[in-house]
């Protein structure tokens, strides 16, 4: 049986070796993708085009403008009227506009007549992510400014407090909160799914579509052997893709590797096997390449949403959280992030590994059942 499968693997590898377009694309397409995404996500959301309308003539308004200008979040310009600021926002020329009221300095001048004054921040709500970043940046600047004012008031009132003790926030494992650090391991996971599922599912669908599937069936091979033989070449391809991506993210983007190398290599191997069995299942269900592609894409979206790539799974409703356990990518991403960034060992990851193994064998069992039913 193994000899027969190996024969087919040899045939498939010949296919890949001879395909001058597909093979380089399979190897370097995901890599260039990863580089693009790494570059796009390594900068924080900063230098947002912003205007300020300072209606105040005193020192305080100028001081606040200076603090906003010093913040990396905003690239500041002055405007003369609120209408001008709103026009620019409406034309999507700027993300945010600060409006400092006329009596700003006056309100802050004397602690005895202290009253709260308001700085207005207009945001372009259409680009919600930029608007959120501007909102947080503005809050930080205004809080710092307010702290300075209260300090001055207290000192003028004769109370000597040199500093407030603020809560300290420490971010573990990703001190600068770089997006690329948590998106790159996730991107690797999705690319591995893509390569493994595409190679496995489209390969078999192509034989079906071209009519060469029947020829394979009349060979002494059993259907499951054919399916395995067609799927196996995806393993070295996907694994090479992974190693290339890993090298680029470690060397090129400074992604830390805090865990154990053998563990990482082993869990990725298991993950590839499981995604491969997903591809095999897709291929056993579809007749044409279009069909297989549709299933690959829809599954990719489902895996993407429930994997914790963009949305935190832990915070979804309980039923969805339970469902997410049956998504291989969720375990794959979790393990990649855990090992690379947090240096987690086998003691905390075994549930993920166990679940992956169970999922893989379950999917393979379903595939054999589907194949048997379809052929009899």
């Amino acid at each position: 049986m193994i000899a027969r499968i190996l024969n087919l693997v040899h045939k498939e590898l010949l296919h890949f070796a001879r395909d001058r377009v597909l093979t380089p694309l399979l190897l370097f397409g995901p890599l260039s993708e990863l580089i693009l995404i790494g570059v796009a996500t390594s900068s924080n959301i900063e230098h947002l085009p912003t205007v300020v309308l300072n209606q105040d003539t005193g020192q305080q308004g100028a001081a606040l403008v200076q603090m906003i200008e010093a913040s990396p979040v905003f690239d500041l310009e002055q405007v003369d009227s609120e209408a001008q600021a709103r026009d620019k926002l409406a034309d999507a020329k700027i993300t945010a506009a600060f409006i400092i009221p006329e009596d700003f300095s006056q309100a802050l001048a004397n602690p005895l007549e202290a009253r709260q004054t308001q700085v207005k921040l207009l945001l372009d709500g259409a680009d919600t992510f930029a608007a959120e970043a501007a909102h947080f940046g503005a809050e930080e600047v205004v809080d710092a400014f307010a702290g300075l004012v209260s300090m001055r008031w207290l000192n003028e009132a004769g109370i000597e407090i040199t500093e407030f003790e603020e809560p300290t926030i420490r971010v573990l494992y990703n001190e600068k909160l770089k997006k690329s650090f948590y998106e790159m391991p996730a991107e690797m996971g999705i690319m591995l799914y893509f390569v493994a599922a595409c190679v496995a599912s489209l390969g078999i669908a192509r034989e079906r579509e071209r009519g060469t599937w029947e020829q394979l069936l009349v060979t002494p091979m059993r259907p499951i052997e054919i399916v395995i033989g067609k799927a196996l070449p995806a393993i070295p391809i996907a694994y090479t893709v992974f190693v290339l991506m890993l090298i680029v993210s470690l060397v090129g983007f400074g992604l830390p590797m805090r865990g154990s190398w053998p563990l990482l290599m082993a869990v990725v191997f298991i993950y590839i096997l499981v995604e491969l069995s997903v591809g095999v299942l897709i291929s056993s269900l579809s007749h044409t390449q279009m069909q297989a592609l549709l299933l690959v894409m829809v599954l990719m979206m489902i895996e993407f949403i429930f994997s914790g790539y963009i949305f935190a799974v832990d915070t979804m409703p309980k039923a969805l959280q339970f469902l997410s356990n049956f998504i291989p990518m969720k375990h794959g991403l979790n393990m990649e992030r855990s090992i690379l960034l947090r240096g987690v060992g086998l003691d905390a990851l075994w549930p993920d590994i166990l679940m992956l193994v169970a999922l893989g064998s379950g999917i393979l069992a379903v595939t054999t059942w589907v194949l048997r039913r379809r052929l009899d």
């Binding site: 693009l36 209260s150 300290t168 829809v298 935190a312």
Partner: protein, 398 residues
């Protein structure tokens, strides 16, 4: 160019789409299948972030502070490690996303009005939930400090300057309103994938030979092949817009006519790319994989849907403009939320028209109505090169 022949090709391609159930659902339904779960996952609010608490102060005040944090659904204070190391271990193993460490002397400092000493540890490897939790903690802490100071007999501590937010177009800053319009362009890219596959299918199945034998000209063939997909694409866009407006409550404030015109320009540009890419492949498998890699994945990050284009390095900004999705995201947001007209959106429109037309011309030039149409063959035929190199290239090709 004869419209008669173009129409004949169109009719053939329409039948392909309608009769092949899979192609039909791929072009018409699957963008919706991507849009709807995606939109849904944006409606899910972050709740029950598992939090580890180390209370080293053990005072009445620290207990009431923790209670204030526990209100609402955002945090679940479900882990109580003994010390900071144990808390860090919980975060490392992924059992807690965020840890609060209340130092000894917490109550004294707060009562003296000298601030609020507290250490917050955040898991930076999965910061989505932790960020929401940090904002929650910040808000509750401000309330708590002013309440505590009022209780101690002092005046309620109010920050002298308050920031008032007014978000135009999207008053509650709902992320779904910003994401859905862009997502429509993203999911429409699937139609581009389908087109590229449909164009390579003829080559792979050998029916291209049949087409070669007809007297049809290449521009007639190409335009006849594309128009049916532009039509189904329009239908899909309308379905997606309806789903966003009625299903997810995203407001549509712009003009429907403009939506119609600009969407067809977008679809045309998308098809032009699909056409150009299809020239490079002989098999559907390669065509699909590459178009997915080009159309589906980079636009997620480069189109400005999640990361504003403005913060990216200039060369990525130029590159992102080459994807038809990027200008379309700007256009769709303008139509949905900002009610912009052509006067304000001339720049993205111009980019769409320019890239679409440029790529279309390039594709028609490179397209050979001949067997073995490949771009390498084209180079072989048209680029002058020394005989030795030509031989090498030929051998590599066959």
């Amino acid at each position: 160019m004869s419209w008669h022949k173009t129409l004949a090709v169109m009719r053939k391609e329409f039948r392909h789409i309608v009769r092949d159930k899979m192609a039909f659902s791929l072009t018409l339904i699957s963008p919706l299948m991507i849009l709807v779960p995606f939109g849904y996952s944006f409606l899910v609010e972050v709740t029950d972030v598992s939090t580890a608490v180390v209370d080293l102060d053990r005072s009445a005040l620290s207990a009431s502070y923790l209670q204030a944090l526990d209100e609402g659904d955002t945090l679940t204070l479900n882990q109580h490690p003994a010390d900071r190391e144990a808390a860090e271990k919980l975060i490392k193993d992924g059992k807690a996303k965020i840890a609060l460490i209340i130092p000894p002397g917490f109550a004294d400092t707060v009562s003296a009005g000298a601030g609020l000493p507290l250490e917050v540890l955040i898991d930076g490897s999965e910061p989505h939930a932790a960020n929401v939790a940090a904002v929650h903690i910040n808000d509750r802490t401000k309330e708590f400090i002013s309440a505590a100071s009022a209780q101690a007999g002092g005046p309620p501590l109010v920050a002298p300057v308050e920031l008032v937010i007014e978000a135009l177009f999207n008053p509650d800053l709902k992320p779904i309103n910003g994401v859905m319009p862009g997502m429509i362009g993203m999911s429409l890219s699937l139609v581009g994938v389908a087109v590229c596959a449909a164009l390579t299918r003829e080559k792979e199945r050998g029916t291209f030979e049949g087409l070669v034998a007809t007297p049809i000209r290449r521009s007639e063939l190409l335009i006849g092949k594309l128009i049916p997909y532009v039509c189904t694409g329009m239908l899909t866009i309308l379905l997606c817009v309806a789903a966003s407006v009625y299903g997810f409550g995203v407001p549509f404030r712009g003009s429907l006519v403009l939506l119609f015109v600009l969407s067809s320009i977008f679809l045309f540009a998308l098809m032009a790319y699909a056409l150009l890419l299809s020239l490079f492949f002989q098999t559907q498998q390669a065509a699909m994989m590459v178009t997915i890699l080009v159309f589906m994945i980079p636009p997620f990050f480069l189109s400005g849907m999640f990361i504003p284009v403005i913060v990216m390095p200039w060369w990525i900004r130029i590159e992102s403009m080459m994807f038809p999705v990027t200008p379309f995201v700007v256009i769709m947001r303008g139509l949905f939320l900002q009610d912009l007209g052509l006067a304000q959106m001339w720049f993205p429109t111009l980019i769409l028209v320019a890239t679409g037309a440029g790529v279309m011309v390039l594709a028609i030039l490179l397209f050979r109505k001949r067997l073995q149409t490949g771009w390498l063959d084209w180079i072989l035929d048209n680029v002058p090169m020394p005989a030795a190199e030509r031989k090498l290239l030929e051998r590599w090709l066959r």
